[in-house]
């Protein structure tokens, strides 16, 4: 097992020796001159240019992603790391020259300052996510300590090793530890040198970190999220459902932005049945275009389990299952509206919804809400979107754009870089 300590690769048997020096070394490095953002941006782009993404593509494929999807994913990561994209992100989130003192009142000045040391707890759910988290820490001038997620393979370690080779001046800012989440003592030690913990992952992972983090330490959490789609009947219905089917097949509902439920604004089950049929047709078409990848056994178990429960409830007329011939997608109709998790992989809940009940139904999951796909008449848009924002939703998109992000887009309603800096001030009056 390998780790990176101040940019240098160390072996497992050296870990304890180095950890003893961690405090002193970091205390010294905190006095280094501010990290040059331009240098970081250049190093990141050189890393992208020098990396052969074929290996990574294979890793995505091994993780159950279709070839075309792995390619698309890599392209989107590359695009987000170009110097132009990174500049744009920084300017949007932090302004032009964020390290410069700005006079806010006579004799009083403010400027931005890195938080100091960020302790990133990576999540294994999205490959290379941990690296991206560290890159954001570098862009904001922080020293980054990363705990690798389990089951990630060596992607993050390899990339960060290479980054230090490309730009040795980044060495003092990069630490990577391949340790288990069970290793509470080391986690606590790393938490103690940090100014903030950045944690990615499930509620359980976040809860676990809260248990061991000191009370004063800020926790910046990027947790799992729940998204849904909302449709009002009208002219746009058929085309919206076509877009929706494409969105489901393209994403396989694998992102926090992916819909798990489709609400149709009606109290007439005949409308729901008609929507179910239309969506089935659209899904059949899209599934031909984008064949489903093989699903791993535990995910398949959840899908089958959920569908069997729907079949049981259908005996009582409470739910209904529309399943494709090849079982590669399903539409699960529930007569009782609620926001609930679907087993993903092209399995979607379809429910009738009354606008009057919408807010209270969404509010039950306020901490988990993220994206609402919205297809409605123009005159309903403001009313519905205001209601969604108030319920806790942070993104509203068309059905076609649910999984697509733009450069510098806030993450769960927050500009990410802004989370990793603080505003300092001086008053010389």
């Amino acid at each position: 097992m390998e780790h990176i300590f101040r940019g240098r690769v160390i072996r497992e048997n050296e870990l304890d020796y180095y950890l003893l020096q961690l405090d002193d070394i970091i205390n010294e490095d905190l006095l280094l001159p501010p990290l040059d953002t331009e240098m970081v941006i250049r190093a990141i782009w050189t890393l992208v240019e020098q990396t052969d993404f074929a290996d990574f593509k294979q890793l995505f494929i091994d993780n159950g992603k279709a070839d075309w999807k792995a390619e698309g994913f890599i392209q989107s990561i590359k695009k987000s790391l170009t110097p132009a994209a990174l500049h744009q992100k920084i300017v949007r989130e932090l302004g032009e020259d964020f390290y410069k003192w700005v006079e806010v009142e006579p004799g009083i000045q403010e400027r931005q300052q890195p938080l100091g040391v960020l302790f990133h707890i990576g999540a294994g759910n999205v490959l290379a996510l941990s690296v991206l988290s560290v890159l954001e820490g570098l862009l904001t001038g922080n020293i980054n300590v990363l705990k690798l997620p389990s089951y990630e393979g060596s992607i993050s370690l390899t990339l960060l090793k290479r980054l230090v080779v490309i730009e040795p001046r980044l060495a003092p800012y990069i630490y990577v530890f391949d340790i288990s989440s069970e290793d509470v003592e080391i986690l606590k030690k790393l938490g103690n040198v940090a100014d903030a913990i950045v944690v990615w992952g499930s509620d359980k992972a976040i809860h676990g970190i809260r248990q061991i983090a000191p009370a004063h330490l800020p926790i910046i959490q990027w947790g799992h999220r729940l998204s849904f789609a909302y449709l009002t009947p009208g002219q746009h219905l058929t085309s919206s459902l076509e877009q929706f089917a494409e969105e489901i097949c393209l994403s396989d509902q694998q992102f926090c932005t992916s819909p798990q439920c489709l609400f149709v604004e009606t109290d007439d089950m005949a409308v729901i049945d008609a929507c179910g049929k239309k969506l089935e047709e659209a899904m059949t078409e899209q599934a031909k275009k984008y064949p489903a990848a093989t699903i791993q056994i535990h995910d398949q178990a959840e899908i089958t389990w959920t569908k069997e429960l729907v079949k049981m409830a259908s005996v009582l007329g409470q739910e209904q299952l529309i399943e494709s011939e090849h079982k590669d997608f399903s539409i699960m109709i529930d007569t009782q509206p609620s926001l609930k998790a679907s087993p993903l992989y092209r399995n979607i809940w379809l429910m009738p919804m009354k606008r009057s009940e919408l807010l209270s139904i969404l509010r039950k999951h306020k901490g988990h809400l993220q994206t609402a796909g919205l297809a409605c008449h123009e005159e309903d848009y403001d009313d519905l979107s205001n209601l969604f924002y108030r319920a806790g939703v942070s993104r509203i998109t068309t059905f076609a754009k649910m999984s697509q992000t733009y450069v510098g887009e806030p993450h769960d309603g927050k500009p990410t870089l802004l989370q990793y800096i603080r505003t300092v001030c001086k008053n010389k009056n």
Binding site: W305, L309, K340
Partner: protein, 377 residues
């Protein structure tokens, strides 16, 4: 006497072949009984055109519609009138909804008969006064969890000299009484009488590690002592250790031989208990059949392949539990070479089914419910 009763009177409890005709006849009876007495079941099988006539040979039991146990968390389904309910048990899930299971007089009678036969077979019945340590909840009015009832029932297998409960009721809440547990163990060790310790494996493990952390010297309990565990690790599955390691720890800290450590699989939604043999395997008895089903097609799989655990049994008459799909992943193995004296197949639980190991950033059902549910006791 009907076939179901005859099956439960059958003497050799692991003679699957000899009792096969009886089992099939009892299953036919079971399907017919629920079809007649339970509207839901009637609709369920009529929708797919199923009838008990399709049960001709033992392989046909796979065609009995299997109900996923989580259905009983959201629906109250009975084949009896309210007045006939003798026991209302719930699964011991700590969060979320619990299965509502109703047991009538005839199920209770046959179930008791079944348990006694199994306990006699495995030589768990004794007349020697025994000290009990129950690593579970102290019984209390209003507590309907199945495991409390089972554990209380188990203390009748040998006359109780003393019973100590690890989780004591304090008003509305429960609290773990570490001090009480440790002092009971020391007292039991001095008395030299057989001790029976029973409860969740997680609690047993926590107790043993606590003894170690407190630097308590290992105890030498009577060699005739028995440790019964059941219910799995539930919310403590992060700390779960292998069965063998747990039994070794029991032997080290309590002096109870590993072959006297027996885990049970039981579920309120199924009611047939599966005690481990002395080689720690859960063999299938004459009262049920175990199928493992493919997680995609639900077709029955052969030995050594992972899938959904499906129990089939005519035991329960109060609810249509003739064939239930458990929330566990399991494998079935050929038991003919076990060497314990039982040759029927045995199953191994691999973990919970239907809860994804989150590989996405989308919220999962268990997160929305606020925690993992346990279904079996």
């Amino acid at each position: 006497m009907n076939f179901r009763e005859k099956l439960f009177r059958y003497k050799k409890i692991y003679d699957l072949e000899g009792s096969e005709d009886l089992f099939l006849a009892a299953m036919r009876e079971s399907v017919e009984h629920h079809e007649y007495h339970c509207t839901f079941y009637k609709e369920l099988i009529q929708n797919i055109g199923y009838t008990s006539d399709q049960l001709k040979k033992i392989e046909d039991i796979a065609s009995i519609p299997a109900i996923p146990v989580d259905f009983f968390k959201t629906h109250e389904i009975r084949s009896i009138e309210k007045e006939e309910i003798k026991i209302h048990a719930t699964s011991s899930g700590t969060m979320g909804q619990k299965s509502q299971i109703f047991i009538d007089k005839s199920t209770l009678k046959l179930g008791t008969k079944m348990i006694i036969k199994a306990m006699l077979y495995h030589k768990f019945v004794s007349i020697i006064p025994t000290n009990y340590l129950i690593l579970g909840y102290e019984p209390k009015a209003g507590n309907e969890m199945g495991n409390v009832k089972v554990l209380t029932g188990m203390t009748r297998l040998a006359p109780a000299k003393e019973k100590v409960f690890a989780i004591r009721s304090i008003g509305d809440a429960y609290q773990i009484d570490y001090f009480g547990v440790m002092s009971a163990l020391k007292r039991y060790a001095r008395q030299r009488l057989p001790v029976r310790i029973m409860g969740f494996p997680s609690y047993l493990y926590m107790m043993l590690t606590a003894m170690k952390e407190m630097n308590m010297p290992p105890l030498k309990l009577s060699k005739r002592s028995i440790v019964f565990t059941g219910g799995g690790w539930k919310k403590y599955k992060d700390m779960a250790i292998q069965k063998e390691a747990l039994y070794a720890l029991v032997e080290e800290m309590l002096g109870i031989p590993s072959e006297n450590c027996r885990d049970f699989y039981s579920a309120v939604e199924h009611s047939v208990a599966y005690p481990e043999c002395r080689h720690h395997r859960m063999h299938v008895p004459i009262w049920s059949r175990v199928l493992i089903r493919d997680v995609n097609t639900l077709e029955p799989l052969g030995f050594n392949q992972a899938g959904f655990l499906n129990f089939i049994s005519p035991l329960v008459s109060s609810m249509p539990l003739s064939s239930v799909l458990m929330g566990d992943m399991a494998v079935l193995r050929d038991g003919s070479q076990c060497g314990c004296g039982i040759t029927t197949p045995y199953f191994e639980i691999l973990g919970r089914a239907g809860t994804r190991v989150s590989k996405t950033c989308a919220s999962s059902a268990s997160e929305l419910l606020g925690g993992q549910n346990g279904t079996h006791i």
